[in-house]
């Protein structure tokens, strides 16, 4: 069964038209740009650097810190 599925895909890719090949090239370039260039260099995962507990404190601080106009005048 698995062999049949693998052969189905192998056969499909072997018989791609020139337009099909172009589309797959675009898909591969796009995935490399999104998951390698953008993900690694522009959207790094920071969860591993900051613990969940620290993140929670950070957001609670952000959600409870409201500088009202009245407070500003008093400052």
């Amino acid at each position: 069964m698995i062999n049949k599925i693998v052969l189905f895909y192998v056969d499909g890719f072997k018989n791609l038209s020139s337009l099909g090949k172009k589309l797959w090239l675009i898909i591969i370039i796009k995935l490399v740009v999104i998951f390698v260039v953008l993900k690694v260099f522009f959207f790094p995962t920071v969860d591993t650097v900051v613990s969940k507990e620290k993140q929670k404190d950070l957001y609670i601080n952000q959600l409870t810190k409201v500088t009202t106009q009245k407070n500003k005048k008093e400052e």
């Binding site: 189905f8 895909y9 056969d11 499909g12 890719f13 018989n15 038209s17 337009l19 099909g20 172009k22 589309l23 797959w24 675009i26 898909i27 796009k30 995935l31 740009v33 999104i34 953008l38 993900k39 522009f42 959207f43 995962t45 993140q55 929670k56 957001y59 609670i60 952000q62 959600l63 409870t64 409201v66 500088t67 009202t68 106009q69």
Partner: protein
């Protein structure tokens, strides 16, 4: 302090990526079903010409599917980097439908796309046809989950979530209520029927182009006949469901509908301004307005907004003034009163965590009880103070941010009314086309064929205006009442957002050009070039 430049750049980036992504999505949703219709006719008749027709439209569908693939993933990155406060607060709830979309619908699409494209000579006709229908269903299921997530942002209710004061995150309490929320359901049906209309306009337009050039006429006549019939049903369905959508918006997001219709002062038998130019009014102008006066030029249809929005031509529809200054007669709270409740919820959140640090369990319990206290009952639905927390953040702005309490009128009015106008044009086009193909007059009607060709880009414009109406209309909120847009954004360096904005712009323009070039080439080569 609110960093408006960061906020505006983050919003611009999200809007740009969403609009570009949405150029591909509705075409995929609509064309997947259009291809399945053609293939069904092929399997039923067994005629080779229908196979050729199916394969031609499948090729155009395939180009769009491949180019649009994974462009939506960029949004997930943006949630994490540009909208981290939003992601923290709603991630547990918003993430659930997105995860299901990724796991179920995306894999369903990927699996059946392989059979649909590679399987013409490898599987039986029945298996291939089933795969084409399942590919269409998978694509459309993706849209369902995304619009369930969006529906929650438009109208969050305690029917499916609670605000956990300890984690400061929303938690899903009732999965079925989340799925069945009326706002999401009508939004989903409106989007998919609009997508079927888009596909029908495209097929009718390209077929008309061949008829005008006198090429592939048998192919064009058969394609146009299917497009005219399916387009007529889809375009009427868009309008009928759009009416339900407007009814839901009127009753769940009154500031959105008031701004869409430029209704400054609420009234009974409220009109819809069919054609008009809204005035640019300051908050003082709105305060001093006593009736009408929202337009420089207007052609109103009396009572129509009340009829469509409340199902009663004499019903009261609140205007922007009622919604920000309150209206005791109709039980509408003023903006300042909502801000005061929101501030109290924020104080409760602060008090809870201060008490937790001090180990004072009694104070924690008191703060939590006050946070979840029922403060209003709207049409039988109890509203907790926590649901109004977002209003409290507007105390950061002068006059409690009252001038930001409603979305901008002019862009909303024009985008909504242009979308509706184009929707009526599609109905007219398909009524004429359907009558033409059934009576046989369409094949010689050069005027109607030209109209169909020139209409090809219009569904993309209409759908973009529809999204602008939905998303600009939700402002100033990311999650209505719970989290304002300015509080959702990440405090990061502006340069990061600016750099990625231009990278995405270049990437999308390149992809858009590649798609258009390939589509034009395939259309130019005609059905004989397919497969």
């Amino acid at each position: 302090m609110i960093d408006y430049s960061m906020l505006e750049w983050a919003r611009a980036q999200f809007a740009m990526t969403a609009i570009f992504h949405f150029f591909f999505v509705p075409f995929t949703l609509g064309m997947s079903f259009m291809v399945a219709y053609f293939e069904t006719i092929y399997v039923k008749t067994g005629k080779a010409e229908w196979k050729q027709i199916t394969q031609f439209w499948q090729l155009l569908f395939g180009i769009n599917f491949a180019i649009g693939l994974s462009t939506g993933i960029i949004h997930e990155f943006e949630f994490g980097t540009n909208w981290s406060t939003y992601s923290w607060v709603v991630g547990d709830l918003f993430g659930a439908p997105l995860a299901i979309e990724g796991i179920v619908a995306f894999f369903m699409e990927a699996t059946f796309a392989a059979i649909a494209f590679f399987g013409w000579k490898r599987v039986s006709k029945g298996v291939h046809l089933t795969s084409s229908w399942l590919l269409a269903a998978g694509s459309n299921l993706s849209a369902l989950w995304i619009l369930i997530a969006n529906g929650f942002m438009q109208h969050p209710t305690s029917a499916f979530y609670t605000f956990n004061i300890d984690t400061a995150r929303l938690e899903l309490t009732d999965f079925m209520n989340l799925i069945m929320q009326p706002v999401a359901q009508v939004k989903f049906l409106h989007v998919v029927t609009a997508s079927y209309t888009m596909a029908a306009v495209f097929v009718l337009g390209v077929s008309s182009l061949y008829l005008l050039k006198g090429k592939y006429t048998s192919f064009a006549k058969k394609s146009a006949t299917v497009a005219a019939a399916s387009g007529l049903i889809a375009s009427i369905a868009v309008a009928v469901i759009g009416d339900d959508h407007a009814y839901e918006v009127t009753n769940t997001q009154p500031t959105k509908i008031a701004s869409m219709e430029g209704l400054i002062v609420g009234e009974k038998s409220a009109p819809i301004v069919a054609i008009g130019i809204p005035k640019s009014l300051s908050i003082e102008d709105i305060k001093n307005t006593t009736e009408g006066d929202g337009f420089s030029i207007e052609i109103p249809i009396p009572g129509l907004l009340s009829l469509l929005g409340k199902r009663d031509p004499s019903a009261f529809v609140p205007g922007i003034k009622d919604l920000i200054y309150g209206n005791d007669k109709y039980g509408i709270w003023s903006w300042d009163r909502l801000v005061a409740q929101g501030q109290r919820a924020i104080k409760d959140l602060e008090a809870y965590h201060a008490a937790k640090k001090a180990g004072n369990e009694a104070a924690m319990k008191a703060a939590e009880e006050d946070f979840h206290a029922i403060v209003a009952n709207v049409d039988g639905v109890k509203v907790e103070r926590a649901e109004l927390m977002g209003y409290g953040y507007f105390a950061e702005l002068p006059n409690n941010g009252i001038e930001h309490a409603f979305p901008p009128v002019a862009p909303l009015f024009f985008s909504f009314h242009l979308m509706v106008g184009l929707g009526f044009w599609f109905i007219l086009l398909f009524v004429l086309a359907y009558l033409g193909v059934t009576k046989g007059t369409f094949w010689d009607s050069k005027g109607l064929q030209k109209a169909a060709v020139y209409s090809i880009p219009l569904p993309w414009i209409a759908i973009s205006f529809g999204w602008m109406s939905a998303e600009i209309g939700r402002q100033p909120w990311t999650v209505f009442g719970v989290l304002p847009t300015f509080k959702s954004v990440t405090p990061i360096d502006l340069v990061n957002v600016q750099a990625t904005f231009f990278m995405f712009l270049v990437a999308f323009v390149v992809l858009g050009i590649a798609e258009l070039k390939m589509l034009f080439t395939v259309v130019k080569n005609g059905p004989k070039g397919a497969h």
